[in-house]
C-alpha cells in the first residue's frame, strides 16, 4: 500500500482545500464533504453503512439504504484482501447520485425497492436485508432473469440492471463521486487512474503497472492549477 501514499496525500490535500477547486464538480463535492465526513482522512469503518450510520443521508431513508447496501454487497462481495461494495462506499455513491445526477431515478429506486421487499416477503417471509446471503443471491438471480413476480415499473430486470450499473460505478468511478473509497475498486483490479503519461517502456511491459501512484481527480486538480 505504501506506494500509493503519495496519491493518498494528494487526495487528502485536495479534499482539504475544498471541492471548489474542481470546476463543475463543486456541488457534488460539497455535498460529499458536508454530509459524509467519514470519507475524510481517518479510516472510517466502511462496514457501518446502516441506519443512522455513515454512508447515506442525501436521499435514501434508513431502510432503503440498508437494502441497497446489502444488495450491492452481494453484487460485489468483499473478502479479505478483496474490497467489496461496502469497503468501497458504493452506498454512499448511489445515495449521492440519486440526490444529484440521477435524481430522475428516485422513484425508480423507491418502487423497485418496495417491489423487492414484497417479493422477498412472499417467497421467504422476510425483507431482503434479513435473508441469508445464499437466499439474497437466489432473489437477485430471479431479478436478473426476470423471474421475480410483482414488479411492474421498474421491471425486475431493469431494476437489477440499474442497481448493478450503479454498483459498478460506485466501485470504479473516481472517489470524488463518493464511492471507490481510497481507490478500493481501482486497487482491486489494478487501474492506476488518470496517469498523465505512459512511456514506451510502460507500454512494452508484460507486467503489472506499479511505477506511479494512483491518480484521481483530486490529485489532478492541483496539477491543472499549476
Amino acid at each position: 500500500m505504501s506506494k500509493y501514499d503519495e496519491a493518498r496525500r494528494a487526495f487528502l490535500i485536495g479534499a482539504a482545500v475544498g471541492a471548489g477547486a474542481v470546476a463543475g464538480k463543486g456541488l457534488v463535492a460539497d455535498a460529499f464533504a458536508q454530509t459524509h465526513p467519514q470519507h475524510g482522512p481517518a479510516e472510517a469503518p466502511a462496514t457501518t453503512a446502516h441506519a443512522h450510520g455513515p454512508g447515506h443521508g442525501a436521499f435514501l431513508n434508513d431502510d432503503d439504504a440498508a437494502t441497497v447496501a446489502a444488495f450491492a454487497e452481494r453484487l460485489m462481495p468483499g473478502a479479505p484482501g478483496k474490497p467489496g461494495a461496502r469497503d468501497a462506499g458504493v452506498l454512499n455513491y448511489i445515495d449521492l447520485a440519486l440526490s444529484g445526477a440521477y435524481a430522475d431515478q428516485q422513484d425508480f429506486y423507491r418502487r423497485g425497492l418496495a417491489a423487492l421487499d414484497a417479493y422477498c416477503r412472499k417467497t421467504h417471509n422476510a425483507t431482503f436485508v434479513r435473508l441469508a446471503a445464499a437466499q439474497q443471491d437466489e432473489v437477485i438471480t430471479a431479478l436478473e432473469q426476470g423471474k421475480a413476480g410483482g414488479f411492474t415499473w421498474p421491471s425486475a430486470q431493469a431494476f437489477f440492471n440499474t442497481v448493478r450499473t450503479h454498483t459498478m460505478e460506485g466501485m470504479f468511478a473516481d472517489p470524488l463521486y463518493g464511492g471507490n473509497k481510497d481507490f478500493a475498486g481501482w486497487r482491486l483490479i489494478g487501474f492506476p487512474g488518470a496517469q498523465p503519461a505512459f512511456s514506451s517502456e510502460d507500454m512494452q511491459s508484460k507486467d503489472a503497472f506499479t511505477r506511479a501512484p494512483i491518480i484521481g481527480l483530486q490529485a489532478q486538480a492541483p496539477i491543472r492549477r499549476g
Binding site: T165, D174, G190, A194, F198, D202, A208, F209
Partner: protein, 572 residues
C-alpha cells in the same frame, strides 16, 4: 428576433463544417457557423474522468433534450434510443472520437461495379441499393493528402504510388507520399495482435490516427494517457477540429461562430433558391440569417430533418428532394467484439490511444475472395479496448466469458484478475445500403425546441449482414486463439439498431433522379445549397468515415472557392 446578412452560413461546425469555415474564410467569404452545442477548449478536458465522459456521455447529445427514435421496421413503434454517439459541440465528433483516420480503398468508391465484375450481379442482395460513388479514389486522393497534412495524422504508408511497403497497410489505396507523422507507439495489445496475425499470414499495422505521435504545427505529441475515445484531449494532441480548423477559421477574420444555436429551417424563395436559415438562439430567440450560400454539415440525422422541415409549396416533399431520396439508404457500422484474456501476462490496455490500436485489412472491402461466403464487402479487424475505451467502468458494461456471471464473488475475481490482462477486438463491418432503411420525422416525439425528432427505421439483421458479422467473429476468435489467450469469447450482438458511424440520407450520385446531391455535395435542385458529410455516402466501406468526410469538405471547399464563387450555379 435578429436578422443578419452574410455570404455563407454553415449549420454544424464539426468534421466538415470546421474545414469549410476555414477554407471559405481564407478565400475572403464572410462565414457564420451555427453550432447547437458549446465551444469548449483544450483546458476544459482536464481532468479526465471516466464516469463523466464515458459513462454519462458528457460530450454527447442529451438524449432527453435531443431524442432520436428508432424502430426495426415500419410497422413497429419507435422509441428514443438510450445512447447517442455523435458530438454535441463545436468540433463535433472529432472532439471525443478515437481519431481513427482511414482513406477508403479504391473499390470502396465502386463497390457495385466491383462486385458485379468479380461475382456477378446476383451477388448483390436484391433488396440492396448499393451504388457506386460519383467519383473515384483518384479524384479524392489530393484531398485525403491535404486532410492528413493540414490536420496531422500518424501512420505508416503501405502503398506509395503503387509500391507496396511492408509494415504499413499493404491493402491501402496508393498515396502520393508518407504520412506527415510516424506511427504511434505500440502497446501490448498491438504486440500480441501483430504476432498472432502474422503467424496466420495476415498483414497487421499501426492504425492511422489523427493523433500526433510528435509535435506538429505548434501542438504537442501524445503522452499515451489513454483517455481518448469519449474524452477531449487535455493537451490538444488529438487533431480535432477544435484545435486545427477552428483556429484557422478564426484567424481569417471572416468567421463568426454562434453557439447554442438550433437551426430549424432552411429558407427558400419562389425562384427555388435558398435565402438563408432560421434558428433558435440560446435565449430562445427566433433569428434569421440571410446568406448567398447555405451549407449543411450537422450529423446525418439533422441533414434529413432540416430538409424535410424546410418544405414549401415549391418543394412539397422537402427541400432538395425532387428525387424522393432524402432520408433513404441509412447505414451504420456493426461492431462485433471478441474478447481475449491472458493468465500469463498483462495487457494494460488502458495505456495509449484507446480505439482500434492495430489493424488487419485482409478481410475488408474486396481484399479477399468472397466466392461462396454468402456476403460481399467486409470489415477492418482491430485490437484495443472494449467500447474503444479502456477504463474499468467500460469493462463492467461488457459481458464476461460464458460461465462467468455478471456479479458476485466470481465476477469480482474475474475483474480483479483480468482487467489488466484483457483486450478486445472489433470488426467494423461494412453494411450495405437499403432503400427501406430510413430517417424521417417522428410524428409522436418532439425535442426540446418542439421540433419532431429524427426517426430511424433500420434493422441490420439481414442474411448478408449476419453472414458477414459471423465470418468476422470467427476470424477474431481464430486470432484470439493464435494469441495464446487463456480465454477467447464473443460479446453478444445487440438488437437491430444502428451501431456507430451513421451514413446516408442525402446520397450523392451522378443522376439527379436517383440522388440528392452531386459529388461536391451540391443539391441538384437548389444550386446554392450544399450538404457535406457522411450523409452523402452512397456506400460506407468497412472503415471509419471521418477522414473521408474531411477530404470531401476540402474538395467541396476547393470547388466553391475556385469555381462556384466566380460563377454561382450548378457545378455539374
Amino acid at each position: 428576433m435578429a436578422t443578419e446578412k452574410t455570404d455563407v452560413v454553415i449549420v454544424g461546425v464539426g468534421a466538415a463544417g470546421g474545414i469549410l469555415a476555414a477554407e471559405l474564410g481564407k478565400a475572403g467569404m464572410k462565414v457564420i457557423g451555427l453550432e447547437r452545442g458549446p465551444r469548449l477548449t483544450t483546458q476544459d478536458f482536464n481532468p479526465h474522468d471516466e464516469l463523466r465522459y464515458f459513462q454519462r456521455q458528457d460530450l454527447r447529445p442529451n438524449i432527453k433534450r435531443q431524442p432520436i427514435t428508432w424502430r426495426p421496421k415500419a410497422d413497429a413503434r419507435a422509441n428514443p434510443m438510450p445512447v447517442q454517439n455523435y458530438g454535441n459541440q463545436a468540433g463535433g465528433g472529432t472532439v471525443h472520437y478515437g481519431a481513427v483516420s482511414w482513406r477508403f480503398h479504391e473499390d470502396d468508391f465502386r463497390a457495385r461495379s466491383q462486385t458485379i465484375e468479380r461475382y456477378g450481379a446476383s451477388a448483390i442482395p436484391a433488396d440492396s441499393s448499393l451504388a457506386d460513388w460519383p467519383m473515384s479514389y483518384a479524384d479524392l486522393e489530393p484531398y485525403y493528402d491535404r486532410a492528413e497534412y493540414d490536420l496531422g495524422v500518424s501512420g505508416k504508408a503501405g502503398n506509395l504510388e503503387g509500391r507496396k511497403v511492408a509494415g504499413g497497410n499493404v491493402f491501402e489505396a496508393p498515396r502520393r507520399r508518407e504520412f506527415p507523422l510516424p506511427p504511434l507507439l505500440v502497446d501490448q495489445t498491438g504486440v500480441v495482435f501483430d504476432a498472432a496475425t502474422k503467424k496466420l499470414g495476415y498483414h497487421p499495422f499501426s492504425t492511422p490516427r489523427a493523433i500526433l505521435s510528435e509535435a506538429y504545427k505548434g501542438r504537442p505529441g501524445c503522452t499515451y494517457c489513454g483517455f481518448c475515445q469519449a474524452f477531449g484531449c487535455h493537451i490538444g494532441a488529438k487533431s480535432s477540429i477544435l484545435v486545427t480548423a477552428l483556429p484557422e477559421a478564426d484567424a481569417t477574420g471572416n468567421f463568426k461562430l454562434v453557439t447554442g444555436a438550433m437551426c430549424y429551417r432552411v429558407n427558400s424563395d419562389n425562384s427555388g433558391r435558398v435565402t438563408g436559415v432560421a434558428y433558435y438562439g440560446p435565449d430562445g430567440s427566433d433569428n434569421t440569417i440571410e446568406a448567398e450560400l447555405v451549407i449543411l454539415t450537422p450529423f446525418i440525422y439533422d441533414n434529413t430533418r432540416l430538409l424535410l422541415l424546410s418544405k414549401t409549396e415549391i418543394f412539397p416533399n422537402g427541400l432538395a428532394n425532387s428525387s424522393g431520396e432524402v432520408g433513404k439508404h441509412l447505414m451504420a457500422h456493426m461492431m462485433p467484439n471478441v474478447y481475449v484474456a491472458f493468465d500469463d501476462r498483462h495487457m494494460n490496455n488502458y495505456m495509449g490511444p484507446s480505439a482500434q490500436k492495430h489493424t488487419i485489412d485482409d478481410f475488408n472491402a474486396d481484399n479477399f475472395d468472397h466466392a461462396g461466403l454468402g456476403f460481399i464487402r467486409g470489415s477492418q479487424i482491430s485490437v484495443g479496448t472494449g467500447n474503444l475505451q479502456g477504463g474499468p467502468i467500460s469493462l463492467t458494461t461488457t459481458m464476461p466469458p460464458p460461465g462467468t456471471p455478471r456479479w458476485g464473488a466470481t465476477y469480482r475475481d474475474f475483474l480483479a484478475k483480468y482487467y489488466a490482462r484483457h483486450a478486445a477486438m472489433v470488426a467494423q463491418t461494412e453494411n450495405l445500403p437499403y432503400v427501406d432503411q430510413t430517417i424521417d420525422l417522428d410524428p409522436n416525439v418532439r425535442d426540446a425546441w418542439g421540433l419532431p425528432a429524427p426517426r430511424l427505421t433500420y434493422d441490420w439483421r439481414r442474411p448478408t449482414e449476419l453472414a458477414r458479422v459471423e465470418f468476422m467473429m470467427k476470424k477474431m476468435e481464430e486470432i484470439g486463439r493464435a494469441m495464446g489467450a487463456t480465454h477467447v469469447w464473443r460479446a453478444p450482438l445487440g438488437p437491430g439498431a444502428p451501431g456507430a458511424h451513421h451514413e446516408g440520407g442525402t446520397r450523392m450520385g451522378s443522376d439527379p433522379k436517383t440522388s440528392v446531391v452531386n459529388r461536391y455535395g451540391q443539391s441538384w435542385d437548389v444550386p446554392n445549397l450544399f450538404v457535406i458529410g457522411s450523409s452523402t455516402f452512397p456506400s460506407m466501406s468497412g472503415f471509419n468515415p471521418t477522414l473521408t468526410i474531411q477530404a470531401l469538405a476540402y474538395m467541396s471547399a476547393d470547388a466553391i472557392v475556385n469555381r462556384y464563387k466566380k460563377s454561382p450555379g450548378p457545378l455539374l
